[in-house]
């Protein structure tokens, strides 16, 4: 009769201290180096200067963050849908899996540098090419995670369900899909970290607005401080999305939290 002691967030906070310390000290070293060496801000701006630029250019940054966020979310939603639908199809049709999997693997070998300009060429400067590129980059880890997750289902549970007279669909819904969820979230966390970067890269190649455009313009006008300001925003976006997936995972896999596994 083990009683259950859910983890308190307080412990999570204490656990975060080393991470905060290491990040803060890295920035401190950077700041000190810039001031002590007297290096030009055109070469390497200090973190304080980057922060200042964020505040000064907040309107510009905000206006350009929205298109990037939009492309990221739309691309990710598309990729999530495609990955899920495909994973179900592949699970029910092993032959389809053998036929299509090589194509998916090849899709991951395409260098983004080469493919992005082509996609922009084909689909123009609107949202479409960005959405497609984000989807291309992010769908594979989720698909692999789902497919592997399905096949990691406990065979005892499956034979039990078969002995109950369950259909293939019932077994999928009640056993294979829930078994795949922890795997799926592992893939989701990997994917989400690619998503913002892919959107920015797509904008960099050709767009009317977005963080990628801010970075491009800042680079062309020799403003490393503004480049880094946009980078900070993009990192913050990724971290925010990452935290969101972690939260959803926590809610979806509550049984793992409670069981303390």
């Amino acid at each position: 009769m083990q009683s259950h002691a859910p983890r308190r967030s307080g412990r999570g906070l204490t656990r975060g201290i080393p991470a905060v310390l290491s990040v803060v000290s890295a920035f401190l070293v950077w700041e000190l180096y810039v001031h002590l060496s007297g290096i030009s801000p055109l070469m390497l701006p200090a973190p304080s200067r980057v922060l200042e630029q964020i505040v000064l250019n907040r309107a510009l940054l905000w206006d350009n963050t929205l298109p990037t966020l939009k492309a990221t979310c739309a691309g990710f939603a598309l990729s999530l849908t495609v990955a899920f639908v495909l994973s179900v199809a592949l699970d029910f049709m092993p032959r389809l899996r053998r036929a299509l999997f090589p194509i998916f693997v090849v899709s991951q070998t395409l260098p983004l540098v080469a493919i992005a300009p082509l996609v922009v060429l084909w689909f123009g400067f609107d949202l479409t090419p960005k959405v497609l590129l984000v989807a291309l980059v992010t769908f594979f880890p989720m698909l692999v995670a789902l497919v592997d997750g399905y096949s990691a289902t406990d065979t005892d549970i499956e034979s039990l369900m078969r002995s109950m007279g369950a259909t293939r669909g019932q077994i999928f819904r009640s056993a294979r899909f829930p078994s795949a969820l922890p795997y799926f979230f592992a893939g989701l966390r990997i994917s989400i970290t690619y998503a913002v970067v892919a959107a920015i890269f797509a904008e960099y190649v050709g767009a009317r607005a977005g963080l990628g455009i801010v970075i491009l313009n800042a680079k062309n006008s020799f403003r490393p401080d503004l480049v880094l300001a946009a980078v900070v925003i993009s990192s913050a976006l990724t971290l925010g999305l990452f935290a969101l997936t972690a939260l959803i995972q926590k809610l979806a896999l509550r049984w793992r939290e409670v069981a303390g596994t």
Partner: protein
Amino acid sequence: MSVLVMKNVSVTLGGTSILDDVSLHVGQGEFVSILGPSGAGKSTIFRLLTGAVEHDSGQITCNGQPLTAKQQSFAFMPQRDALMPWRRIIDNLTLGLEVQGISREEARARVTPLLADFGLEDFARHYPAQLSGGMRQRAALLRTVVQDRPVLLLDEPFGALDALTRTQMQAWFEKRWRAARWTTLLVTHDVREAVALSDRIFVLSRRPAHVLTEVQVPGPRPRLGRRITPEAHALEAQVLDILLNQTGKAL
């Protein structure tokens, strides 16, 4: 009257003969054990009955009807509890009923009155990982019996438990069985367990398995939770002797 009858059943899997001319029968409300060495094909009999493998020859009937895929005559309890870790105990218990197409509410309503008998009334909302091994096994058994099938198939249900818990669980199970009189077919390699729980025991040979002998177990119940009678001891020794000497080189 026999509920389950297997007559001259043979199974070959991948060119290997697993079951060779096995005949056995289980009567209404009877507790029958299949006892045999490890790897003898005891579990194959259950896979056969639950439709996971096909037999090459022989007949299997349940309540006089030949076994078909559609008809669900058996409720199966696997060796490991196979509880779904992501479902609360109550939702694990209703799984079989949900598969039958019964709504979640009705399935819960059917399971809830049985929780107390299985010592689970305070744990319905818990997840399996929060329960001890014995409690998980009780939950697995309850999940099996609520399916309300003509025959229970128990595949070494106490094999994964530690010795002390196993002894407690066997005594508890005998009590529950005496109250409910489920028609039960138990697979085990534990001679003492078979002698303690069964009305009759079919002793299987090594692979390819055939029935070495059928043993009637006399003696009043309950048999567990008290000192083992000399008769039971003698029977255990006799069955063990059959297993050791007629199944070839054991140990």
